[in-house]
């Protein structure tokens, strides 16, 4: 691999001193030291990223190896080996992210539609900024808000749900007295991933060919029919990949979960009780400051598993985006 790109070398023809130079003959490419230094340094930066990521993988694996052979006595709780310890956490991570996604995706699509197709044209961009502001709030602030405002606010609703709809398995009692349940966490996570899904869907809805929209309207479709005929089918792959990116965010989100949830190491789908499965990231955040010995390795190993899960999710979403790019001809 060369460090610079050069124009393809053309054969240098011998030139008669008397004749004028033929125009097609390019001048010899001069390799200035400045060029070499500059291109070399940009290449170094690129390679540094490669090595950094390799380092992330190698160090995490190296530090998590002791966890896989950890003894029963070294693992917190009553798990017998590493995998029985980490399984409830994996379940909690996926479950919380799933709840967040169920809440956030329909809302985000509607908000994106509002900004692109319903709001007055002049307001649309500022409304987009307003939704983006949600992404600017640090996660620790969402954590504080979740405990201080959201949990007390939804607790009466939870009590009502358990009393009147307790027959529905997800709403089984007894209800949590604090409102700090997995459903509250799901709501907070939904708020946090809403802006990214909204802004990506917005971009995609704006790319809908104008002619498709106008053709639908010209055939007498109402605005909603136009959206279902032209906008949504065009944007479907984009919505899917935006949701997957949001899912990736929700899986890795730490502080809001760590602060809002009252955790325990169980597997349970029930939404409103005080016993909730916790997530990998929150478990690391809560236990790392006091961990020692193999405990540290176990937490790092669970972090490695989280990394693998988010990697797979992001990879799928990228693949969807790339496949769409190949077809659409927009680029």
């Amino acid at each position: 691999m060369t460090t610079t790109t050069q124009p393809p070398a053309a054969p240098v023809q011998p030139v008669d001193p008397g004749q004028p130079k033929p125009l097609a003959t390019p001048a010899k490419v001069v390799q200035r030291p400045g060029d070499r230094i500059f291109s070399g340094s940009t290449l170094t930066a690129g390679i540094l990223i490669l090595t950094t990521l390799a380092a992330v993988a190698i160090f995490l694996v190296a530090q998590s190896l002791p966890a896989f052979v950890a003894d029963e006595s070294e693992i917190k709780g009553d798990a017998t080996n590493f995998f029985s310890y980490v399984w409830p956490l994996v379940f909690g991570t996926v479950w919380a992210a799933f709840i967040a996604l169920i809440i956030a995706v329909p809302l985000a699509i509607m908000v994106a539609l509002f900004i692109t197709h319903y709001a007055p044209r002049r307001l649309a961009q500022s409304l987009g900024y307003v939704i983006d502001l949600l992404a600017a709030v640090p996660s620790v602030v969402y954590g504080l808000w979740g405990i201080g405002v959201l949990a007390p606010a939804v607790q009466p609703v939870y009590s009502w749900l358990v009393e009147n709809m307790g027959w529905f398995p997800l709403f089984a009692g007894p209800v949590s007295g604090t409102g700090r349940t997995i459903l509250t966490v799901g709501i907070v996570l939904a708020v946090m991933i809403l802006p990214i899904i909204t802004s990506l869907s917005r971009e995609i809805f704006l790319q809908t060919p104008k002619l498709h929209e106008e053709a639908a309207l010209a055939l007498g479709a109402t605005r909603w029919e136009m959206i279902t005929i032209a906008v949504l089918p065009f944007g479907r792959p984009g919505i899917v990949s935006a949701s997957m990116l949001g899912l990736g965010r929700a899986l890795g989100e730490t502080m809001a979960v760590a602060m809002v949830l009252s955790p325990s190491l169980i597997i349970s789908l029930v939404l409103l009780q005080s016993q909730n499965p916790t997530t990998i990231a929150a478990n690391i955040a809560l236990n790392f400051p006091e961990a020692h010995g193999v405990g540290v390795n176990i937490l790092i190993a669970s972090g490695l598993i989280l990394f693998v899960i988010t990697f797979v999710v992001n990879f799928i979403s990228r693949a969807i985006v790339d496949r769409r790019k190949a077809f659409s001809g927009a680029n």
Binding site: T42, M110, V191, T198, E225
Partner: protein
């Protein structure tokens, strides 16, 4: 010969709702729900608004169904749902803003910005140690990430061809998705090799945040460099300017505003990160100006720690947590605002 009287309404408007009808329905349903809540003796603004919204959607839909038919009614139903969805999305934003300002104003005083928490139990004290820590860690992060990020973007846009460039692009995508806590674990796993178990250093926080910041800078800078028209580069080459000078004197100045905006937005993103700092920078109550020695507090970890480790006078700790949150939000908002201003004022006008 019977003369039928001319219809009172115009044919164009027949069978349609008046344009102010939704407004009347909103006022009507609002009045109804206020009356219902007043009769029940409960004043609950959230409840009133929710009942109003549900009633409005129903009445509006039914009315349109009878007057205009099912297709138009469905359109109106979806319109009202879409608007309501947007309003719902605004609720958390407004709620976060109100509670943070309301709870944070109590301790937003001189002490908060001039004192650390050393030897403080209960009331008083401040977050100077955390603010200094945030500044130092963010500065170190920027010093590491900005050159690497911008140079990599230049490589990808101006030089990179073939397999290596593809791999770097792919890995930058992967890095974008690394959960922040895993970045913290990475810094720990690296530093533990040199400093032994239980290592807590400010510079480790900077390394962890760099992992999160570099891909953001690469992505935004790449976008900006791609916006520079090729004609500019070719004109420069035609004048005999070497490639590196073309990039330094033509390409970079043209895209400078966009690059600066991207850097500021990436700083705004990492300055609020809590999880990696919790892992590798740790908690302390004292000032620490040295990134390479001992634990270092930052604003986000200060907020978390104040909340999680409430002392004897719990309210004082909670107040400090909210004030820290307020300061953090103000910093992030200011960075975002400045970034947008730079983008709007200095960006070259390139269509779009």
């Amino acid at each position: 010969m019977a003369i039928t009287p001319a219809p009172m309404t115009s044919a164009l408007k027949a069978g349609k709702l008046h344009r102010f009808t939704p407004l009347y329905i909103i006022l009507g349903t609002l009045a109804v729900s206020v009356a219902v809540f007043a009769m029940l003796g409960a004043v609950n603004i959230a409840g009133i608004l929710i009942v109003t919204a549900v009633l409005f959607v129903l009445v509006y839909w039914l009315l349109s169904l009878f007057v205009e038919g099912s297709r138009k009614a469905k359109d109106r139903l979806m319109t009202s749902l879409v608007v309501i969805a947007f309003l719902i999305a605004l609720v958390p934003l407004i709620s976060v803003a109100i509670t943070t300002i309301g709870n944070g104003a109590a301790r937003f005083d001189i002490d908060f910005f001039t004192m650390s928490m050393r030897n403080i139990v209960g009331e008083g004290g401040g977050a100077l140690h955390a603010i200094v820590g945030t500044l130092l860690i963010t500065l170190a992060t920027s010093i590491i990430s900005v050159p690497i990020g911008i140079l990599t973007a230049i490589y990808l846009v101006e030089y990179g061809r073939g397999k290596l460039a593809k791999w770097i692009t792919f890995l930058v995508d992967v890095m974008t998705g690394i959960p922040s806590i895993v970045a913290g674990l990475f810094a720990y796993a690296l530093l533990v090799l040199f400093f032994g178990e239980g290592v807590r250093l400010g510079i480790g926080g900077a390394m962890a945040l760099s992992v999160l910041m570099i891909p953001v800078i690469v992505r935004s800078t790449e976008e900006m460099l791609k916006l520079v028209p090729n004609e500019l580069r070719e004109a420069s080459y035609a004048l005999g300017v070497p490639k590196y000078l073309t990039i330094l004197k033509v390409v970079l100045p043209t895209s400078l505003a966009g690059i600066v905006t991207g850097v500021m937005l990436s700083v705004a993103r990492v300055i609020g990160e809590t999880a990696p700092l919790l892992i590798i920078a740790g908690f302390t109550q004292s000032m620490n100006y040295n990134l390479f020695d001992g634990r270092m507090m930052a604003l986000p970890t200060f907020v978390y720690n104040s909340y999680a480790q409430q002392g004897t006078d719990a309210q004082a700790y909670i107040d400090r947590a909210w004030t820290g949150a307020l300061a953090l939000i103000l910093i992030v908002m200011a960075l975002n605002l400045i970034a947008r201003l730079i983008a709007n004022i200095f960006s070259p006008k390139l269509g779009r």
